[in-house]
């Protein structure tokens, strides 16, 4: 242990394997101070900006929020709340493209900025000694701080005190080319950062605190040295510049000589690492009660006239930043816009992508400085096994072999070659003379392996369920047989001894039945006389409604089938012009339609009768159904409530989909004007009207078919 510190105080560090020295280009932005920007007009705040889960939305559309007001909340430790970066009105909560390489959409809160920037009430805490550790951690959690170095791991989890922390490492080694946001932050806010480190020191009480910082940031080093000169515990370690020394595992190895065992977190080795920007945010949150609502973003690249670091509010769309930094837009030229650095960043697919907690850089290179980002198609040629990739791999992997296995989709071999240890730093692809997009192959392979794993799990579950069902069905069959046997035996016994008691019991039952029937009839008559649009739509009504719906649904399905059949037969008849061919098919359809119509009629009649006679009996049964209906109407609350309960997931999902189904039915019914009334207002329409509609529809069908049959050749008129 001592030797580590001795080495560090001598300025000696361990060297990790590989690494590259891409052109840094940091001077584009490192010489200018961080700029405060005017407020953008609208902010787009994604619900999920970190690893973990989305929180529950606390606000609704149209609500006015104050700066720093939480927008989401949760009880799950892996969830991190988000806050309103400034005051304004919630204009929408909808899907929007987020900062993710996929370019897919996720739920975002749209905030129309009112320009006043009014704060919510803040509790500034002048004396930290008044707070307990638990309170501090709570403050960090409530401020929504997630690791700002790139991964976005919730900070309060990493800051919760664990026993035996040897090293607290503060990562100031911003090794990606172009990015200077941490550099500038260290220059300008070194005191605040050190205050944040001291808070972490109190929470974690590590044996040593090391600040890793690359030797290409002399000003930041000086500023931090100045700020830490009173604190003996904090050691500033100036490490050599080499990409990717800022990677968590690489920096740990460089500073301590320890390797984080594969598949483990650094915490298991007694090491915790935090980014300098995270330390700054912790200080802001704990001392000033300022949640994480803004961050330093390096907006750089030679396509900009004014590359610089800016204080950007979370949720600021990048087009606002690019405007502020004066992007030279060239007509009809595709421009790569990279969120993150050139090595590990991802290209964004829309100018409305917002800044999130992990966005440290927006890079807009010119074609001259980064021609490979402008290449139309992959320049990939065959691998010549030159081995340069394995020379630069910081994880000491064999990228070329990984690449072959990834192309061959040989997943076991990939796992054997430790694909999961790839940190996707991009060093291999950077040096590859064959221009192979190695990292991309690994990402695809990783995604495939993940999906394969999930599919395997699912298959295993399906197997178990299948076996369980088989067992259950067999059991049920046996039980049924047993029951039948017993019942038969009982019947026999009953037949054999027709005692007076038995007959007495029988007559009692009959009397009871009669009474029930009478009651039903009494209830039924006034009910059915009433018009159904009366406000007190009771459960019976719902039941009736259900019945008629069932009938309508069947009729609709039948009609659909007919339509399909008719459609499939049309081409046949139209192709062959012989009348002999047409007649039988037309007759057949006619017959079919007749039969179908008859069935529909009969069913509808039956339904009518049934609903008239036995609704109260089925009251209990229908009750739950009614509840489902209610649930549909109040789906918003149900969605939020049921989401946590896995048992009710299906109903939840079905409700979610409900809107879609409505659409579908309405589309279907538009084709068929007769049913549109029946289907479009399922809850409120009179059952009789529905049944009538069904019957009418069937009749119309029939007539149409008949006329067709009569016309024999004019099948093309049949559009129904």
């Amino acid at each position: 242990m001592e030797s580590v510190i001795e080495r560090i105080s001598r300025g000696q560090f361990w060297d990790f394997h590989g690494g590259i020295h891409p052109p840094e280009q940091k001077t584009l932005t490192s010489t200018k101070p961080i700029k405060q920007l005017a407020l953008p007009k609208q902010l787009i705040i994604p619900l999920q900006q970190h690893i973990g889960l989305e929180g529950d939305i606390l606000v609704s559309i149209g609500e006015h929020v104050l700066k720093g007001q939480p927008l989401t909340a949760s009880t799950n430790p892996m969830e991190v709340p988000i806050h309103a970066p400034t005051s304004g009105t919630i204009s929408a909560i909808k899907m929007s493209v987020i900062a993710h390489p996929s370019g897919l959409e996720q739920l975002c809160i749209f905030l129309d900025v009112d320009g006043l920037d009014t704060w919510r009430k803040r509790n500034v805490c002048p004396d930290l000694s008044l707070l307990t550790n638990h309170q501090i951690i709570e403050k960090i959690a409530d401020s929504g701080i997630a690791g700002m170095g790139g991964a976005g791991f919730p900070t309060h989890i990493k800051a919760s005190s664990k026993p035996d922390i040897n090293f607290l490492i503060i990562n100031g080694a911003e090794c990606e080319p172009y990015i200077t946001s941490d550099d500038l932050l260290m220059m300008e806010q070194s005191i605040a950062i050190v205050d944040g480190i001291e808070i972490l020191d109190r929470l974690l009480s590590p044996a040593f605190i090391l600040i890793g910082i690359e030797d290409n940031k002399p000003k930041a080093i000086r500023a931090l040295q100045q700020a830490t000169k009173d604190n003996e515990k904090i050691k500033i370690c100036v490490v050599p510049t080499k990409y990717p020394i800022g990677g968590e595992k690489q920096l740990i190895h460089t500073l301590t000589g320890k390797e984080v065992p594969a598949g483990q977190l650094p915490i298991h080795s007694g090491i915790v690492m935090h980014n300098v920007a995270t330390c700054f945010a912790i200080n802001e949150a704990v001392r000033h009660d300022t949640p994480l609502i803004r961050r330093v973003v390096t907006v750089t690249g030679q396509a900009l006239n004014k590359p610089q670091n800016v204080w950007a509010l979370l949720g600021t769309p990048i087009n606002f930043l690019l405007e502020q930094c004066e992007l030279e837009v060239i007509e009809n030229v595709k421009q790569p816009v990279i969120m993150g650095g050139p090595m590990m960043g991802f290209s964004v697919s829309s100018e409305m992508v917002p800044i999130v907690k992990i966005s440290n850089c927006i890079l807009v290179p010119s074609k001259k400085e980064m021609p490979s980002a402008f290449e139309k198609e992959s320049q990939e040629v065959e691998c010549i096994r030159c081995g340069q990739c394995s020379d630069v791999c910081p994880s000491n992997l064999l990228p070329q072999e990984l690449q072959w296995s990834a192309k061959a989709k040989d997943h076991p071999q990939l796992q054997k070659l430790n694909l999961s240890d790839c940190i996707e730093c991009g060093a291999c692809a950077y040096v590859c003379p064959s221009q192979i997009p190695l990292v991309h192959y690994y990402r695809v392979a990783k995604a495939e392996i993940r999906e394969k794993h999930q599919l395997d799990l699912k298959a295993e579950r399906a197997k178990v369920r299948f076996e369980a069902r088989k067992l259950r069905l067999e059991k049920e069959k046996l039980a049924r047989q047993e029951k039948n046997k017993k019942a038969a035996a009982a019947r026999k016994a009953a037949m054999n001894k027709a005692t007076p008691e038995a007959t007495g019991a029988k007559s009692a039952v009959a009397a009871a039945l009669a009474r029930v029937k009478a009651k039903k009839a009494a209830q039924e008559n006034p009910e059915s006389a009433k018009t159904v649009d009366s406000a007190e739509a009771s459960t019976t009504e719902v039941a009736k409604d259900q019945k008629s719906q069932v009938a309508a649904a069947i009729a609709r399905a039948k009609a659909k089938k007919q339509q399909k059949e008719a459609a499939s037969e049309q081409p046949k008849t139209s192709v062959s012009e012989k009348p002999d061919n047409i007649t039988p098919t037309a007759q057949a359809t006619d017959q079919k339609s007749k039969v179908a119509a008859a069935i529909a009629r009969a069913k509808a009649k039956k339904q009518q009768k049934e609903t008239a006679s036995q609704s109260p009996a089925s009251e209990n049964g229908e009750k739950t159904n009614a509840e489902v209906k209610v649930a549909q109407e109040t789906k918003k609350e149900t969605v939020s409530k049921t989401e946590q309960k896995s048992e009710v997931t299906p109903s939840n999902s079905s409700i979610k989909e409900d809107a879609q189904t409505d659409d579908i039915t309405s589309v279907q019914t538009q084709n068929n004007p007769d049913t549109s009334t029946a289907a479009s207002q399922p809850n409120a329409v009179d059952k009789k009207a529905k049944i009538a509609a069904a019957i009418a529809k069937a009749k119309a069908k029939k007539k149409l078919k008949e006329t067709n049959a009569a016309a024999e050749t004019s099948t093309d008129k049949d559009n129904g």
Partner: protein
Amino acid sequence: MSNNIAPQDTDNLAASNEANTNTALESEQNAERKAAAKAALKAEYKELAIQGLWKNNPGLVQLLGLCPLLAVTSTVTNALGLGLATLLVLICSNITVSAIRHWVPKDIRIPIFVLIIAAFVTCVQLLMNAFSYGIYQSLGIFLPLIVTNCAIIGRAEAYASKNPVKKAAFDGLMMGLGFALILILLGVIREILGQGTLFDGAELLLGDWATSLTIQVMQLDTQFLLAILPPGAFIAMGFLIALKNAIDNYIKGRHVEKNDKVIERVRVNFDS
């Protein structure tokens, strides 16, 4: 290695033929049946021939007996000699194996097959020693090594031990021919490339009259030794197989047939 021809016994067909009745109608029916059976038999023999010569060629497709195939094909004469010897052994062993197939216990069939083959190989070896000593000498060890030729034991196991004598004999003939053809083809290629001749030394196999068979295809200043050495045989063999696959693919490409995409499904239910 496996053979796709389903084993069919024609013994019962013959039996049904014997059980003729006298009625005219029935005899007519019988004649029809006979004709059909004959046609089926013909088709079957045709299939056997195609399998042996092309589709399931022991040299090109099954890649059996590569050791002699590559070792002795430096000249056509050698190839022909070994091809004929193998053909003979294959036919005889197939007939014998088929004839005794009902009496051979399943567990010890392989040793028995080997014994039978070894017996025939010895016969052939003695015959060649007697009548074509020159070729006997030039083939050397590869003549007795026919015993271990997988093509022969493979046919005995896969076909002869499951089928009647006649068919087994025909199968042996076709497989043997297929094997011999490849041997000769390879011999032709290697002899022309290596020495520029054809049928050099044919008299060793066929007698003195065959001296005149030797053809000088082209005059080479120097021998192309690679073609004569075993690596050349491997390369030439690779090209032959590639050619065969290319032809197959070409034929396949011309007969792209569309089947009806009907899926027969089963309801996964247990109560029915």
